[in-house]
């Protein structure tokens, strides 16, 4: 009996160790394959040059530039909006109010919506409804805003990353000690002055973490920009909000499915994947470090 027990125990331990090992193995294999496949193509030139020869050769600069611009515009929209929402939820709404609970429910739901749905929403709402409406109203029906562009893509992405910002900023605001708020109020500051001068400066690290996590998520997602602004190939960089743009994730998808010769562009796919992975890894690492420091400070 006891032998049997120790046997099942041993099997169980073995199974858990194997599962854990498998996860690590997957990551290692993934990284090794990508690096081996991409390292021959990866170079300074690859990062800074335009694609050439019908995208069979050359670099991925427009995709890097487009991704950077996308996450920048996305942040400009998502960070202030998310921060203000977090301030409302933590400072003004009472925990039990129906409005606060509804907002929390909405934020949680938003975080679980499949990203392609955001893409479709962006197409329907931003491009057809807002953009189309703007064209009809301001331009007498001439097509300018009612088609995919970097603005609509960024705003769509901002909706997707909003929950990340809200949750991070909320967490940071909660780490600002009650004693500091009381000190400020006792000196005759209003609630808003206290938020502006004490709470928000004390939450800087959290706002930063939220921004970085949102950027890292936004840099990697493709589905939301599929219909809303990403372009297959552009000979020039976007210069206006109504321009389309190239994007790293979308570029990988294009190269792997639409390129004239998928096998021949394989090294470019690997190298692009490498760039995207490095980018998101570095962003996440920075966020983890800032967040760890924030949590330590809270204790």
């Amino acid at each position: 009996m006891s032998k049997r027990k120790s046997l099942t125990g041993g099997i169980f331990i073995g199974a858990t160790a194997l599962s854990a090992f498998l996860i690590i193995a997957v990551i290692i294999v993934l990284l090794v394959v990508i690096i081996l496949g991409g390292k021959g193509t990866f170079s300074w030139e690859f990062l800074t040059a335009f694609p050439t020869d019908g995208m069979m050769k050359g670099g991925i600069f427009p995709a890097i530039y487009g991704t950077a611009l996308l996450v920048l515009i996305m942040s400009v929209a998502a960070v202030p909006f998310g921060t203000i929402t977090a301030i409302y939820l933590t400072e003004y709404a009472s925990e039990k109010s129906i409005l606060a609970q509804t907002i929390r429910f909405a934020v949680r739901t938003l975080a679980t919506v499949p990203s392609i749905i955001f893409g479709l929403f962006g197409l329907g709402f931003f491009i057809k409804f807002v953009g189309g409406g703007m064209d009809n109203f301001f331009l007498g029906g001439e097509l300018k805003w009612g088609q995919p562009n970097i603005l609509w893509a960024s705003l769509t992405m901002a909706l997707l990353t909003l929950p990340v910002v809200i949750v991070s900023v909320e967490e940071a605001i909660r780490t600002v000690p009650r004693e500091l708020r009381e000190a400020s109020l006792a000196l005759g500051a209003t609630k808003w002055e206290t938020i502006k001068r004490i709470v928000l400066p004390g939450s800087r690290a959290g706002i930063m973490t939220g921004t970085i996590l949102a950027v890292s998520r936004g840099a990697g997602e493709v589905a939301p920009i599929l219909f809303t602004g990403a372009a297959y190939y552009l000979a020039t960089l976007p210069t206006s909000l109504s321009d389309q743009f190239m994007n790293l994730g979308y570029h990988i998808y294009i190269m792997a499915t639409q390129s004239a010769n998928v096998d021949q562009t394989l090294p470019i796919q690997f190298a692009t994947t490498m760039v995207l992975l490095m980018l998101t890894f570095m962003l996440n690492l920075t966020a983890v470090i800032i967040r760890a420091r924030l949590r330590r400070k809270a204790k």
Partner: protein
């Protein structure tokens, strides 16, 4: 007896369903030090916090009765609580400097009052730090972070920060309970100086401290005001048996 600065009438406070203060009526005189003593949970800190409406921030608090400051009911709907708190400063149990420089900490109150003139701010900061007996220790590092000060220095800086708003009343919630004896002595000396210009109400756990610094003492027990009178009398010949038991250390 000096003129009454703060007067409470049948002040009762509930946290949800729990009664924390039961019909407290006291007259706190101007330019004197009034101490609140009593065992933990007796309501003395809660009572102190009703005097500048700090309890407003806590959900579920219900207050009845009146608190009159200069004969005005501070719970009246007409009262601007922000202005009220400028008039009634508060020093907390745990020193709570902002993560800013010493200068910016002290200048915080004047700044939110709209003072932007650098000269004027410097003047206020210097005067406040001097009045809090800490100027000499910090005058060469005004722009260093206040977090670098010792606990006792932080607390005196927090008092300076309160003085910078030029209040008339200073509420102190166990201001020395986290400090070493030397820092405590400095704070007590400071309280003695401050009462010339301010009305001071201090909550303390330390009975010797109450006996040393205060002119009047109120003894609280289980949300009731048991006895209130001249400190000398409370500590030598209290009227109530409970007061005597507490002061002689038989409970609490």
């Amino acid at each position: 007896m000096k003129e009454t600065k703060i007067k409470t009438k049948n002040l009762t406070l509930f946290y949800g369903a729990k009664m924390a203060l039961n019909s407290i009526s006291v007259d706190i005189p101007e330019n004197e030090v009034t101490a609140f003593i009593g065992p933990s949970g007796c309501g003395k800190s809660t009572f102190l916090r009703t005097l500048n409406r700090m309890n407003d921030l806590i959900p579920g608090v219900k207050i009845t009765g009146e608190v009159l400051v200069d004969s005005l009911n501070i719970y009246d709907k007409q009262i601007d609580v922000v202005n009220l708190r400028k008039k009634i400063g508060m020093v907390f149990q745990k020193s709570n400097p902002f993560a800013k420089s010493i200068f910016e900490n002290v200048a915080y109150g004047p700044r939110i009052n709209g003072i932007t003139d650098r000269k004027k701010l410097e003047e206020i900061v210097e005067r406040s730090l001097k009045n809090a007996f800490i100027w000499e220790e910090v005058k060469d590092r005004l722009h260093d972070s206040a977090m670098g000060l010792s606990g006792g220095q932080q607390q005196r800086m927090c008092i300076a920060r309160t003085l910078a708003v030029e209040p008339e009343i200073i509420l102190m919630d166990e201001p020395a309970s986290a400090l070493d004896p030397i820092s405590t002595a400095k704070i007590e000396e400071l309280i003695f100086e401050l009462k010339k210009n301010y009305t001071i109400v201090i909550v303390t756990h330390n009975m010797q401290q109450a006996a040393r610094v205060s002119d009047l003492t109120a003894f609280f027990y289980l949300g009731e005001l048991i006895e209130f009178g001249k400190t000398k009398k409370i500590f030598t010949s209290p009227d109530k048996k409970q007061t005597e038991d507490y002061i002689t250390g038989r409970f609490g």
